[in-house]
Symmetry: C2
Subunit: 433 residues, 2 copies
């Protein structure tokens, strides 16, 4: 991991190319989407054979398969999962929104009605890896929002099976249907429906490049949570931060993926050196060393700044997915953070605490999108409807103002819809009673 | 306007083709985006000359131009605009979200911090038409959210000018910069920045097909509000609804655009005939008769159902942008509505009341997207950041559970980041103090 100045870091960031060059991938993804739209289930079986190497007899995971999974996992794992579920539930329940009315008089009533989305699709990556935590983080907010149908798809392994841990997590979290299906074909099936898979209104969950581009393509026809990029951590550390902790956290982020970014910013050059040395020491003991080495080379940095204030300028420009403030008085700096997915305060709040356990969602905006996006939450699974009610007299009072505004936009039928009520007020009152 | 049964209506809806076939448009839009990314301001001047027929000397609207606009508009118009602004402000202030903390103890702190998006772009259609109401509906929620830079673009007329009403509305609503720029080039400039236009994090506002497709293309690099389709109204009427009112409201929706949809559902066939007759009577007096005729032919219907309950099945499947409940006891049916952008209750709450004046936003989800999307609101201009803080002892208690979950996902460096703290707890406490 290289130590550099703020200027060197800015220079390297400036060399980065904007995203793009998805043309070949997009053509493949669009062809898959069209195939699913045209051929339905048959396309899903064919594409699963092609991409996952398995000829399935049935896309749906059966109740006996789920029961078997729950028996196959250890009690200790189920305990950990249940405690995580409780924490995630407690945090997300605080995100619930109620319908409200601003004015409620005989003359006027204005309000906002909150309704859950009826059907959502959760995409959970699979194949060789298994992410039960991702199941909890997607399904629990949907369930709290009141979503009736929570449909999960995840690619099967070459043996046609789904990981026991993922199935157990889905069952624990209240998923209502599970399909063995991955890639762009899963996104297309959820967006447009097939004989066996219901069309949903929103799709959430992470995935590979095919999944991410398919989500971009179906966006508009359905809602999506976000187009997730590689994972990132940014640590702001002063000389009170134990270097071994900071090093372990940078390493944990980088093991995800060679594109993952791990950046540490410190106002102490001795701290920088100590963290660098700790990384060298710890990396050799890790199973994913090769991935980490490559991620650090491409996207890792320890940036030394003169003052902590400068660190927060970098942070707000990066808008990191995960931000750890390993500072003596971390809480005092929260207000300096304009853009971040999640902030972890102090020396004992490492990112994996948030990934698995504390309760806030681990689906966070990546690649600088924390400038405009939020963690996945209950708010992603509801929608709002405005409610407007005026009495005859309240409308009459407003009629001339509405008329003026409508005419300024040359929308005379709009003006007429109000004027006809004003003029016919008495007659209308008779026909209303 | 044709009267039909529920079955006939369902059959016609079923014949509708899903959206698609944007290929030529997309190629043009992508070429414009690339041109703006490569050539910056120069591309903007060239494209404005090409599409708007005017060679501008300056993209920015100057303070003297804004002052002149405020003097050119009538006092009556400014009064109406100010009253609308006050109503819109009052409603949207009720949407404000505060940061919160779920637990705040020495051991644990979990919370959600709400931060405004720093820079947003508002696209306002222009050219031959002027939409001051759209300026208010986009700028006011942004200002209430706390957005610092509210950058508006709107295409100039062939004389290089922007409508006085639009400039006056922008000034009244707190827009911080205005540019004479329309089409896909405006979306590209807001998304990627040029020499004179700051890159923003989110773009909102309606536009023509170029604008809508450009928003889809830049989505992901920036946030957008929605991809707006043609406007829609659905009226559910019983025999207490004055037919002249219902007719006027259907006509007002259809004047927007030949693609606009105006649908009335009633449980009374005599009401259906009376509304049909009223439409014939009123339509000849309207300036936009030709547009309305075409919209009604393609997308209009008066649907007669046996029971009101069936009307709400149609409503929830349509998920209309605007829903008017012209029923004797309209309020009793609000709970039957699962999917709608805005609900207008009773005989004296016509859609133009919401378009211009009552306070709720007139930017509403179209084309069935009310199944998953909300009206534009203050929530569109903020984002949330999770906050997680555990003490050393709280983390130690959680460590083994986190370890189990991380190992189930084969992320051993994640497990290590927690274990290293558990093991080094005492040493760490010393270095922390």
């Amino acid at each position: 991991m290289e130590i550099m100045t703020q200027e060197q870091f800015a220079e390297r960031q400036g060399r980065r190319q904007p995203s793009g060059g998805h043309q070949q991938l997009d053509e493949a993804v669009q062809a898959i989407i069209r195939q699913v739209q045209q051929d339905g289930d048959r396309a899903l079986f064919d594409l699963t054979a092609q991409f996952d190497g398995v000829q399935l007899a049935d896309l749906a995971v059966s109740r006996p398969e789920i029961n078997a999974a729950r028996e196959n996992v250890t009690d200790a794992f189920m305990d950990a999962l249940a405690e995580a579920r409780d924490n995630i539930t407690a945090f997300h329940e605080a995100q619930q929104e109620a319908s409200w009315f601003l004015e409620q008089t005989n003359a006027k009533q204005l309000g906002q009605k909150v309704t859950p989305i009826e059907k959502v699709g959760l995409y959970i990556p699979g194949g060789t890896a298994a992410y039960p935590s991702t199941v909890l983080m997607n399904a629990i907010p949907a369930r709290i929002a009141g979503v009736k149908q929570i449909i999960m798809t995840t690619p099967p392994g070459p043996d046609g099976r789904i990981s026991d841990e993922v199935l157990a997590a889905a069952d624990l979290a209240g998923v209502t249907a599970i399909y063995k299906l991955g890639g762009a074909q899963a996104i297309a099936a959820l967006a447009y429906g097939t004989e066996s898979i219901d069309r949903v209104s929103k799709i959430t969950g992470p995935g590979n490049a095919y999944v991410a581009r398919a989500k971009k393509w179906v966006y508009g026809d359905v809602a999506i949570d976000m187009i997730a990029g590689p994972s990132e951590i940014c640590i702001v550390a002063d000389d009170t931060a134990p270097p071994s902790f900071a090093a372990a956290d940078l390493l944990s982020q980088a093991e995800h993926d060679t594109d993952a970014a791990a950046i540490c910013i410190t106002n102490s050059s001795s701290e920088a050196k100590a963290i660098q040395a700790e990384i060298e020491k710890q990396i050799d003991q890790l199973e994913r060393k090769a991935i980490i080495d490559q991620a650090f080379d491409q996207h890792g940095a320890i940036v030394v700044v003169n003052r902590l204030d400068e660190a927060f300028d970098i942070v707000n420009d990066l808008a990191p997915e995960h931000l750890q403030l390993m500072l003596a008085d971390a809480g005092a700096y929260v207000d300096r953070v304009q853009n971040a997915g999640a902030i972890f305060l102090g020396h004992y709040s490492p990112e994996p605490l948030g990934d698995y356990f504390a309760g806030p969602n681990h689906t966070l905006p990546t690649s600088g999108t924390a400038k405009f996006a939020s963690p996945l939450g209950v708010y992603d699974f509801i929608k709002r409807t405005s409610i407007i009610e005026y009495s005859a007299s309240a409308l009459e009072q407003a009629a001339d103002q509405i008329d003026r505004l409508a005419r300024s936009e040359q929308l005379t039928a709009h003006a007429n819809s109000v004027q006809i009520r004003k003029e016919a007020n008495h007659a209308a009152k008779r026909s209303q009673s």
